[in-house]
């Protein structure tokens, strides 16, 4: 039985260029998902996705239910935030978020009442196949679903059925190539059915012809579980034949969207295009489960699976954690109470960000919480030596950049040159830094370069805008002058016609008028100035971040 099963599993022979084989340290692979206890206070930042921040719609003192919307989205690329439990809003104020700079965001603090009363305003949509995809999309938006692999891009945007770009293949990303992380792995074992129904919902929404669940060969039990569940479901589920499981050799960063697409379809996503332009969409397995919950159960996204691991965690494991739970509380449940000589990472060790402290909440992008001893971090961040041009960095780069040249350019502030060497195609996977014998923090330079370029771009936009503005003003002044001159001519002609002998100068009052106009003109642009300044992109949005494709692990 098992034998035939394994035979039916697809194996891909294609690969992506570059890549590395880091020590995987998946020590929590066998740890079943535990459920986190209730903290005393939840902290919910109003922005947990890529895109525009939300606006709180509750006030201090309000009672909220579990799953109730507490912040509504503003703008298109945005999804709302929901309460992770029932309780009272105790304050709304700025609080640090899991961002390397410790950047603060307005956050809603909720004190649980211990009852966990659910908000039932969203009805389950059991017959999703008879439901219009547009309605399902709206439901996913309302439920706050964003990519749970780490990129947290609002999911409903990706799941648009667009006849110009028919979707051939849906790729389910169960790769989890980041070392240490096992949250997707456990989810595939424990929630295989939900994931597969989620796939069916997505396929219905985008009209995909087939779906591929991609799993690396270091997770054979997840692979079997998905395959078995597919077979069990096949009786009640005629479309399950369009879903296949594909085993891939373990390699970092295979979980990166573009690399995975290349491996599975043999096609590269052209620069400046999206996967859907080549008929593919990619979703993380965790997102698929969240989609299932949103549609079948009518439940907004209020929790996620987090791997708590690292060499400084006494009892590493996987945990179902409600969004907004302070990380300190999560670590404490795994035996880590004090944080001396310990470094905290948000995400995996390859792409995760270093946290300043544990007093930040778990958010939608928190796939892993790692605590590493400072000695092992020092090993990883040895002092930088000169580049010996060995070229290893370029060999492992999945995007085929020449990292050492790019780093030189960023270091020497030749940012435009770096851009022409495709700096923005770097996905910041860190493979280059990982292999560099000179311990050069290449990714650090790339982020710096991207940030500077974004800054330059903003300044240029601003300069362009003010140039246009002043040109506009010149035009207007010229036009008005012209109009006035024309008027003057008419008046003069009238004067001339009226009184032939009365030779009073007709220009004088007109001249005064012009002067008046001018002062009015000079006042005006100032107001325009203000509006334009408002339009400037807010400096808060981290520069260059948008272009960096996160590896969904």
């Amino acid at each position: 039985m098992l034998h035939t099963l394994l035979k039916s599993i697809q194996k891909s022979t294609r690969t992506f260029s570059g890549g590395i084989d880091p020590e995987m340290s998946k020590i929590t692979a066998a740890a079943a998902i535990a459920t986190s206890m209730q903290p005393q206070l939840y902290i919910l930042p109003i922005k947990q996705h890529i895109g525009e921040a939300c606006e709180p719609i509750v006030s201090v003192g309000d009672h909220v239910k579990w799953g109730q919307k507490i912040a509504r989205s503003q703008g298109y690329v945005s999804v709302p935030v929901h309460s992770p439990t029932s309780g009272k809003v105790v304050k709304i104020e700025e609080h640090a978020t899991p961002h390397p700079s410790g950047m603060g965001l307005p956050s809603i603090f909720i004190e649980p009442d211990g009852k966990d009363t659910r908000d039932k305003s969203l009805k389950p949509i059991k017959a999703y196949r008879d439901t219009d995809p547009t309605e399902l999309r709206e439901r996913l938006r309302l439920c706050g679903i964003a990519g749970l692999g780490g990129a947290v891009f609002p999911t409903f945007i990706k799941l648009l059925k667009d006849n110009r770009n028919p979707i051939e293949t849906l790729i389910l990303n169960g790769i989890e190539c980041e070392p240490y992380l096992t949250n997707d792995h456990r989810l595939m074992i424990e929630k295989a059915k939900e994931i597969i129904i989620g796939i069916d919902i997505i396929m219905h929404m985008v009209g995909a012809k087939k779906a591929i669940i991609a799993i690396e060969d270091n997770k054979p039990n997840a692979l079997e579980m998905m395959q078995e569940t597919l077979e069990i479901l096949s009786e009640s589920f005629p479309d399950s034949t369009r879903i296949e499981v594909c085993q891939l050799p373990t390699r970092y960063p295979q979980g990166s969207e573009k690399q995975l697409i290349e491996v599975l379809t043999g096609k590269q996503v052209p620069a400046g295009k999206l996967p859907m332009h080549i008929g593919v969409i990619c979703q993380n397995v965790g997102t698929s489960k969240a989609i299932h919950d949103a549609i079948i159960k009518g439940r907004p996204l209020t929790e996620r699976i987090v791997t708590v691991s690292g060499d400084a965690v006494p009892r590493p494991g996987n945990m179902r954690v409600r969004l907004g739970t302070p990380m300190r509380f999560v670590f404490a449940q795994h035996g880590l109470e004090t944080f001396d000589h310990v470094h905290l990472l948000h995400g995996g060790p390859m792409m995760g960000e270093k946290l300043k402290n544990a007093d930040v909440p778990v958010v939608k992008s928190t796939n892993g919480l790692l605590a590493m001893h400072s000695t092992s971090m020092k090993e990883a961040h040895k002092s930088e030596q000169p580049c010996i041009r060995c070229g290893h960095c370029g060999v492992v780069c999945p995007v085929s950049l020449v990292p050492n040249l790019l780093a030189d350019q960023c270091r020497n502030k030749q940012f435009e040159k770096a851009e022409s060497y495709d700096l923005f195609d770097c996905i910041e996977c860190g493979a280059c830094s990982y292999v560099c014998p000179s311990n050069i923090p290449l990714v650090h330079y790339f982020r710096y370069g991207k940030g500077q370029l974004a800054q330059i771009g903003r300044e240029q936009n601003f300069a362009h805008a003010s140039k246009q503005r002043s040109e506009h003003r010149d035009d207007r002044i010229a036009r008005e002058k012209e109009e006035k001159a024309a008027k003057r001519r008419v008046v003069r002609e009238k004067h001339v016609a009226k009184a032939d002998d009365d030779k009073t100068s007709a220009g004088k009052p007109d001249h005064d008028k012009t002067a008046d106009h001018k002062t009015a003109d000079e006042k005006k642009p100032k107001t325009t100035d203000k509006t334009i300044q408002k339009d400037k992109p807010s400096p808060k949005s981290p520069p260059g971040k948008a272009s960096s494709g996160k590896v969904s692990s």
Partner: protein, 348 residues
């Protein structure tokens, strides 16, 4: 310092590891050199390595920098590589001069490791060859090849020779040296003798050339020893195949084609492959990361360029051996190659 930036993991590779693995790969060639040239080779290697290390230390200190890079093994490697490309007998001060030049002119003047345009050892070797052509082409008769005039396993004799010159042993330099195969066919050709006849008169044997039983620079004679080192580095991914493979293949193909056209003028391909410094250059000099291109495509271009130049200089040039000139010339083109030979970026 701990960066905020990911990744927070490192593969553990280091400059030191890289340099040490190259030194390790040179071990077979070093052993063969001592086997063939006895104490002379040993002294030469020691002087060269020690001088390089001292020069590195002093120049780092003079520039007010930390002397810690001394431990990265790159100066030691330069010293070893330089020694292996020298003839067994050179006046001691020439060896010291060459070593100082390698570190000072070849490396530190450019800003230290990573910034040099040329391979430091090769640069010093070329300067020496141009400045002292006689000494640099006088090949001591090795042990186990014919009858050696002086016993190179005799420490005192070797020390005397090194410090006081051949006169101290009552010998002329000519008497204890012989021509290398490359030098031999070049002089014979200039006297109108065909390559085929020249090889016959030299009593040339492919097996001897492969094993190293011939005259030449101390570390260059044994193709086998160098090949072993090269394979070790390839297996350990210290170097990639692109440069050595294309370099050697180009020389082989060119030599084969011309040898087919006119065997009297053009030496056979295998002869080229085993002769002179080609093996050492292909595996250890041209692959020096700092002075070679970074991208695989660039490395292929570089290797082909080295091959064409090596064969051309050997065949048409004034010097019998062209490998190191070829590599030095190609070193100059690296910035250009790097610019034009970038791989196609994903999705572009």
């Amino acid at each position: 310092m701990i960066h905020l930036s990911s990744p927070h993991m490192h593969g553990g590779d280091s400059i030191r590891m890289t340099m040490l693995s190259v030194i390790f790969a040179l071990l077979p060639a070093t052993i063969v050199s001592v086997y063939l040239f006895g104490w002379l080779a040993f002294l030469l290697i020691t002087i060269s390595m020690v001088t390089c290390l001292i020069t590195e230390f002093i120049s780092l200190r003079l520039m007010g920098r930390s002397a810690s890079p001394i431990g990265d093994g790159s100066a030691a490697l330069t010293g070893l590589l330089l020694a292996l490309t020298l003839p067994a007998y050179l006046p001691w001060w020439m060896v010291i001069l060459a070593s100082v030049m390698a570190i000072l002119l070849g490396k530190q003047l450019y800003g230290g490791l990573g910034y040099n345009l040329f391979n430091p050892a090769l640069a010093a070797r070329v300067i020496l060859l141009i400045s002292f052509p006689l000494n640099m082409t006088a090949w001591i008769i090795p042990m186990h090849v014919g009858t050696p005039v002086i016993d190179l396993y005799d420490f005192n004799a070797c020390l005397n020779l090194l410090i006081f010159g051949p006169e101290s042993l009552n010998r002329a330099l000519d008497a204890i040296t012989m021509a290398s195969p490359l030098g031999h066919i070049k002089t014979e050709w200039s006297q109108g003798i065909s390559v085929t006849n020249a090889l016959r008169s030299y009593d040339y044997s492919y097996l001897d050339a492969f094993l190293g039983r011939e005259a030449g620079s101390i570390g260059e004679t044994s193709a086998l020893a160098l090949l072993l080192g090269g394979i070790y580095m390839l297996a350990r991914h210290t170097i990639s195949w692109h440069i050595p493979f294309t370099y050697l293949a180009t020389v082989l193909i060119l030599a084969a084609v011309f040898n087919l056209i006119d065997p009297a003028h053009y030496a056979p391909p295998l002869f080229h492959l085993l002769a002179g410094g080609l093996m050492l250059c292909a595996f250890f000099m041209a692959t020096d990361p700092v002075s070679s291109p970074v991208t695989p495509m660039g490395q292929i271009v570089f290797g082909v360029g080295c091959g064409v130049l090596t064969w051309s200089i050997r065949t048409y040039g004034g010097y019998p051996e062209g490998a190191m000139f070829a590599v030095i010339l190609m070193n100059c083109t690296v910035p250009l190659i790097d610019h034009y030979c970038r791989p196609r970026v994903y999705g572009r």
